[in-house]
Symmetry: C2
Subunit: 431 residues, 2 copies
């Protein structure tokens, strides 16, 4: 699906020719209610951060061909279809800086069925567009979780649109939720599995982590047995492996405010370690607020790693544990008390970097959880300026997988993920 805004989220980038940045591009959907012959287009004015580019300057790319405005006016066999966006190229040596830009466009279109004096129509649109720099070489790997697009997937975006978004911002890893993104879960059509692999290839993405659940309180009258819990975990390990994922995060039911996992967790994991080794898929319990790193739950996982010596049971860190400010942005997923007091489970844990460093050898994957990156690429809650250098200094080279969990406004997830990647890569590239 196209973005409803005429200015699309995807496709905003600097243009590099012969190693030099010569301008920038943006992608527009046709703002009219019909497709038109390209000869009826009459230019596009682009205003970036207040700087105006006259309507005759930008180049138009339509149906795979690029035109100046004069060439466009003379065309006989090119169209701007409703379902085929145009790429607008604006010459500008050096291009645009990394980060959030105010972009406005005025698209001019001649409509012969309007009276001649008014047949040149103006369509305007504006957006905050996020320019994401290329990922720095070496070190961290950059991915995104479909969770970031909650409420937009299947409504505004297909799963393919999500993958296209992730690829467009220059990330190379895709994390999914098994019970969210696999049609026909737990038994997808084999044709869908082929489609999935085709999509990974098309968008140049690596399947990273697969989120799963072990709903210990599946029924009201009894909890899952260890055998049932293991069966659920193994089902997901097999499915994740078929889809190309290399780790599975099982979310077990909990028994306390401190998120102590149901005791079956250990049996379920132990019974599944051989299978995990056979499939070469790492089982990753999630360290998630309000559980910090120095905590019996985390220690229980580390004990199991050390006791078994398994290479297929490691930690997954959710960066919400590093928050230095409470997340007070409401979403369907975040609850705040009526009294205005920040409830205990929302108080920032501000886990120190030293604790992270201590367990880092056991950390397989990082969910880069966040709620808001502002127009200046400042994260309101997560101290990326400490986290990213710590990871790099200690030579950690796994996936940082964006997990946006702020307000679920339409298209906000896609926009925020771009901002977060611009921020993370700026920090990593500055070193």
């Amino acid at each position: 699906m196209l973005d409803r805004n005429v200015i699309q989220g995807r496709g905003f980038r600097n243009v590099v020719e012969d190693g030099r940045v010569t301008g920038f591009q943006l992608v527009l959907r046709n703002p009219n209610y019909r497709g038109v012959a390209a000869s009826l287009l009459d230019g596009v004015e682009v205003v970036v951060d207040g700087e105006r580019v006259p309507d005759s300057v930008p180049l138009w790319t339509l149906q795979g061909r690029t035109f100046t405005l004069d060439e466009l006016r003379a065309t006989t066999d090119v169209r701007w279809q409703l379902d085929e966006p145009a790429t607008i190229t604006v010459p500008r040596p050096g291009g645009l800086a990394t980060g959030v830009h105010d972009v406005e466009v005025l698209v001019y279109l001649r409509r012969p069925y309007f009276p001649p004096m008014v047949s040149r129509t103006t369509f305007t649109a504006s957006a905050k567009a996020v320019l994401v720099p290329p990922a720095p070489e070496g070190g961290l790997r950059y991915g995104v979780s479909t969770y970031s697009y909650t409420a937009d997937v299947y409504t505004l975006m297909t799963l393919e649109d999500v993958l296209a978004d992730v690829a467009d911002l220059g990330a190379t890893g895709i994390e999914i939720l098994g019970e969210g993104n696999v049609p026909g879960y737990p038994s997808p059509d084999p044709a869908w599995i082929d489609t999935w692999h085709g999509l990974l290839q098309r968008y140049g993405l690596t399947a990273t982590n697969y989120g799963s659940w072990v709903d210990t309180e599946m029924w009201r009258d009894r909890a899952l047995t260890g055998e049932e819990a293991a069966a659920q975990l193994q089902l997901d390990l097999r499915l994740a492996h078929r889809l190309g994922f290399t780790s599975v995060r099982p979310k077990f039911g909990v028994t306390s405010w401190q998120l102590d996992p149901h005791p079956v967790w250990e049996e379920a994991v132990l019974r599944s370690l051989d299978l995990a080794a056979d499939l070469d898929v790492v089982i990753c319990p999630e360290i998630h607020a309000p559980t910090p790193i120095r905590h019996p739950v985390t220690q229980g996982y580390v004990d199991l790693i050390e006791r078994t010596g398994s290479k297929h049971f490691k930690l997954l860190i959710d960066t919400g544990i590093f928050n230095t400010a409470p997340v007070l942005e409401l979403s369907e997923e975040i609850e705040v008390g009526d009294d205005g007091e920040v409830p205990e489970h929302l108080r920032p844990l501000a886990v120190p970097m030293a604790d992270l460093v201590e367990v880092l050898p056991h950390v397989h994957f990082i969910q880069a959880k966040f709620a808001e990156v502002d127009d200046d690429l400042h994260d309101l809650h997560v101290p990326w300026g400490e986290i990213v250098p710590t990871l790099l200094e200690h030579g950690w080279s796994g996936w940082l997988s964006s997990e946006y969990e702020g307000r679920r406004e339409p298209y906000r997830g896609a926009d925020q993920v771009r901002r977060q990647h611009a921020l993370l890569r700026s920090l990593a590239g500055a070193r």
Copy 2:
């Protein structure tokens, strides 16, 4: 695509069992970020127009099977997937009245990975839902134009979603814009044409009118010749015929504020009448404000009908000519002066019914243009209470095809079309 609101626009209807109305249904998408085993669902409260139905009462239909709440809790092999909506059936003898209802739902879901005291989560959603009565037997035929969904098609809805919406509200005719809705226009892939016919069959829809354009000012230095204009019209006649349409509305470029068509119109039409007869497709010029029925332009069309005796050139009436109040709702398609004065071309023509009656034998198709039907099913601009009885009294039995042209807010077209059909059918059924 699903509607972003948890309460879907489609599927809101009364339930008829053995000829009696026993309740109503609504369709919900899963409000969570993951799909879940149905045993984790814990009821849904439905509040309609302030009347509360307790959470244990509604029935759930998931993956083709229907359950009471107790049955749902005991299931082992049913899921509420993110991409598969649930149908909720609420018992209520007599069902709900035609029109707009305030609907609120509270969906309860157990989430074992939350601390036990808070693991029963509530998801709320609300909507104004429109109950559309079945189309009255005989007389008028009810259709919808894809134009109604401008800006939502290809962004929030696929073309198939539009057809599904049209079928869901009980309309049987679909009108399209050739240059808007045919991928690859003017040369669609033959496979797409098969897909199109498959969709018509699947949704029980008849292809009605095909909107086309003859852009006489296609190029800036010269107008189309009569031959070129005829070629464009004939291209669309052939394509419309392949897609199963029985009429084509060509929109010619105009030369005046009164929308006088470019003089080539007549040559283009005359050169195409034989082809139209061969294909049995009616060419329908559109009578559209600010051109009323008693006007030289309309008279020119009637003259051609009478002169040629052709059965393949008839009038299409856009009901905007009957407006009794100016449309001051702004949309991308409607312009209003900065001085607050209603510009001449927006002043309501209020064409009298007597004028309609006079040309009715020549009228092939009616585009039921409108901009707003309020919560009481009152159209703010179009006097349907006069138009519908006039058409029925004079035995006109063509298509009334909804053409929503109000504010282009997301999903508003779909909602307004349901309201208009509820209104039109109430008026027709009351006779």
